[in-house]
């Protein structure tokens, strides 16, 4: 089997997959759940239930509020107690539907059995509609509505569907566990998306540090009736799971600055999304569950878990079921240690894209004081976009927006490789992130002005 990787930059942090052998456990339902209206990229959904309404699990409680938006469903049966703004993990106030849980009664027509359904009977339009109705969004991190991504603009053609099973972030093991435990379901999900995209070549890309997952997928592929789906082993390297890096690794093509993956014929979907697509299309089950890892370097292995959670569960509830927040935790992160968000609010509820509760010790996460740049060039060597973070930092200090744009700050994917590798502990990304936002603003304003001028 050929081994591939992306061609520019990258780092090799220790993979710390401590919870890799923890089987997926189902979390019991809490008494109260808080379902966010903003758990996808794009416009927050509009609630369609009222306080006091009885709802069933899987029932639509909010509708998309724009082209890029998504349906939200109730994660359990119960009564709507309130619809009000509530702080999410980063402390941002977002409308939530509060549900007093009374049971686990589902809406009609949802197949909750474990029976594998391999025949794809729906046609392309029906599949897309089902994916939309079930509120499927990308579960690799960006939570972009899947039905939009699977429906490329007319004129562009998908040549390759890449299933992202890289899970290149240290610590995280939820994708690994579903690849082992839901192997066939993921492959059926891939076949469904392959059908939607007109039968393009499909690659399930997994990093080599997960050999069990690679062999499980190869074996399952041999026993299933789909064609033109292959598994690909990749060298371990961060950020291999970045969309642009994965396309480079698998297809040896690079997306132009500002372009979409489809411009080089690529569609990338996470393996967890493939599982959600399977459940939606074959089982008519809306996206209210996902898998998350409870891990960290200050958590003993017997307290580590991979959980099947439902959206709307408070993080504090999950932490308590898992055995409490460890004393030595200095930082709690939702997501991986490279790109995840530090949690300031444990009362926040899980969303579709939640992937972990990561407890990091003081020693592994405390930042050291920054010193002078020694011009070693490690940040440039590490940048997977081929940018020069030290230069962006200096241009930002000088307030040179033009220079920043010329140095392509807008291409930064915020992967954190520069900050990770800086021996002088300069928080490069902390400075580059706002600089990028500023330049993106300039670019958008310029595009809007050009459009307006054309309209005249």
């Amino acid at each position: 089997m050929r081994k591939v990787t992306f061609s520019i930059g990258g780092i090799h942090p220790h993979d710390s997959k401590l919870s890799r052998d923890c089987k997926i456990e189902v979390l019991p339902l809490p008494q109260t759940m808080y379902v966010s209206m903003a758990q996808h990229l794009g416009a927050p959904a509009t609630p369609i239930v009222n306080v006091g309404d009885k709802v069933l699990a899987g029932q639509v409680i909010a509708e998309p509020a724009g082209f890029i938006s998504a349906y939200v469903h109730s994660p359990a049966s119960g009564t709507v107690k309130s619809i009000a703004p509530r702080a999410d993990i980063t402390g941002r106030m977002v409308p939530h539907v509060e549900i007093a849980v009374e049971g686990d009664e589902w809406v009609e027509g949802v197949d909750l059995s474990d029976t594998l359904v391999t025949d794809i009977t729906l046609d392309r339009a029906q599949i897309l509609e089902r994916i939309k109705q079930c509120g499927i969004v990308g579960l690799g991190g960006a939570t972009f509505p899947t039905h939009v991504k699977l429906n490329p603009a007319p004129g562009s053609k998908a040549e390759c569907l890449i299933l992202n099973g890289a899970e290149c972030e240290p610590y995280l093991t939820s994708d690994y566990r579903i690849l082992l435990e839901k192997t066939r379901e993921i492959i059926v999900g891939a076949a469904i998306m392959q059908k939607v995209l007109g039968g393009c070549h499909t690659v399930i890309a997994i990093e080599e540090n997960k050999p069990e997952a690679i062999s499980a997928v190869s074996e399952a592929l041999a026993s299933l009736p789909y064609s033109d789906i292959e598994v690909l082993s990749m060298k371990k390297r961060y950020p291999q799971g970045g969309e642009k890096q994965l396309i480079d690794a698998v297809m040896k093509r690079q997306v132009k600055s500002g372009g979409l993956p489809i411009s080089v014929g690529a569609v990338v979907q996470n393996v967890a999304t493939a599982l959600a697509v399977y459940e939606a299309v074959q089982k008519n089950k809306p996206l209210v569950t996902n898998t998350m890892t409870i891990t960290g370097d200050c958590l003993p292995v017997e307290k580590q878990h991979n959980y099947l959670f439902r959206i709307g569960m408070p993080l504090s509830y999950i932490a308590q079921v898992a055995g409490g927040v460890p004393e030595s935790a200095a930082k709690i992160v939702s997501g991986g240690p490279m790109m995840g968000k530090a949690i300031s609010n444990m009362d926040a509820a899980t969303v579709k894209g939640s992937s972990s509760l990561l407890y990091l010790s003081e020693g592994s996460t405390r930042r050291h004081p920054a010193s002078n740049c020694i011009r070693c060039g490690r940040c440039s060597d590490a940048c997977p976009m081929g940018l020069e973070p030290f230069l962006l930092n200096r241009l930002n200090k000088a307030g040179d927006l033009e220079g920043l744009e010329k140095a392509s700050v807008q291409d930064c994917i915020e992967c954190g490789c520069c900050l990770y590798s800086c021996p002088a502990n300069i928080p490069l990304l902390d400075y580059i992130r706002p600089a990028k936002a500023q330049v993106m603003g300039v670019i958008r304003a310029r595009a809007a002005a050009a459009k307006a001028a054309q309209g005249k």
């Binding site: 240690p337 976009m385 020069e388 928080p427 902390d430």
Partner: protein
């Protein structure tokens, strides 16, 4: 929750720090240091001790009293400068000359530009050149002191390059290259053993402290340039191997030209920088007034580094 840290991502950091990199450089210099101490004895030990202590002391004093800035001696960069300065001086250099060299290297070349990372010239080399111009007698006094395992009756062994500059190719005929590779007594203390230096170079490569492109392009340029001249007229010009093994080429290429601060950031820039050093070095040796030339070659190319950094950039994603 009260003691929980909150910060933007990433939440983990590599173990490599400025201090660990500098420590690796010191470790890499240890084999050559050891050989020089063994063969040049107490006087070499004194040069090293004075050089390192003065560099650290001067950095501490200047940052504290003149710059009123945070003290930076713990990053070990002053130690590296001290060791390298000592290795670039004859073992017989008087302690006060060493101190003046350290004062110029750290106080003027490094700290007046803003400290580590801000200087244009390599401090250790600038310190050596400053001394060479100010105290030429001390800096070209190649008297060999008594070592711990090698005793002489204080013979004055002029360097191979010195002999070539005075007496031409005949003066250095019959040089035993194998001997020169292991042990080359005479010259700056640090260049006594090419092998020990190469061992340190290999350590830096294995630890990924430096990349090999700058030293390799210097070696190749020296080899090719002197090769061409040697082929044209072997009775006037020394051969390539002679030029690679003498006059601090290995010390300079592996440890001084690779200084992060004063070398280009990109590989292509680094190669051009290396080629420049190799070429200027050979021009000085064949046609210049100084017999050696490595220090001047590096200092001259140091000046081109900002330009090379401006001209050459990483290849960006999505531009191919």
């Amino acid at each position: 929750m009260s003691n929980i840290l909150v910060s933007p991502s990433p939440h983990i950091h590599s173990a490599v720090s400025t201090t660990s990199l500098m420590r690796d450089v010191v470790i890499a210099l240890c084999p050559a240091l050891l050989v020089s101490i063994l063969f040049y004895g107490w006087s070499e030990l004194l040069v090293i001790a004075v050089s390192v202590a003065s560099c650290v002391l001067i950095e501490w004093a200047v940052t504290k009293f003149l710059m009123k800035a945070p003290c930076t001696i713990s990053d070990l960069s002053a130690v590296v400068t001290g060791v390298l300065l000592a290795m670039n001086l004859p073992a017989t250099t008087p302690w006060w000359v060493v101190f003046i060299g350290a004062l110029f290297a750290i106080g003027v070349v490094k700290l007046t530009f803003g400290g580590l990372g801000q200087n244009i010239f390599n401090p250790a080399i600038a310190g050596r050149v400053f001394l060479l111009i100010s105290f030429p007698t001390y800096l070209t006094d190649w008297t060999i002191p008594n070592g711990f395992i090698h005793s002489t009756d204080a013979v004055s062994g002029s360097t191979l390059l010195g002999r070539y500059a005075e007496g031409g190719v005949e003066a250095v005929a019959g040089t035993d290259y194998l001997q020169t590779l292991f042990l080359n007594i005479g010259g700056s203390a640090g260049e006594i053993s090419a092998l020990a230096l190469l061992l340190g170079f290999a350590y830096l490569l294995v630890r990924k402290v430096i990349k090999p492109w700058i030293p390799l392009s210097i070696f190749l340029t020296v080899f090719v340039t002197s090769g061409i001249f040697y082929l044209i007229d072997p009775s006037t010009y020394t051969d390539p191997l002679f030029n690679l093994l003498t006059g601090g080429v290995i010390l300079g290429a592996c440890f001084m030209a690779t200084d992060y601060v004063t070398s280009p950031m990109t590989t292509l820039g680094g190669v051009i920088y290396g080629v420049g050093i190799g070429f200027i070095l050979m021009m000085i040796r064949y046609f210049g007034a100084y017999p050696e030339g490595m220090s001047f070659a590096i200092l001259i190319m140091n000046m081109f580094v900002p330009l090379l950094n401006r001209w050459f950039h990483q290849s960006k994603y999505g531009r191919k």
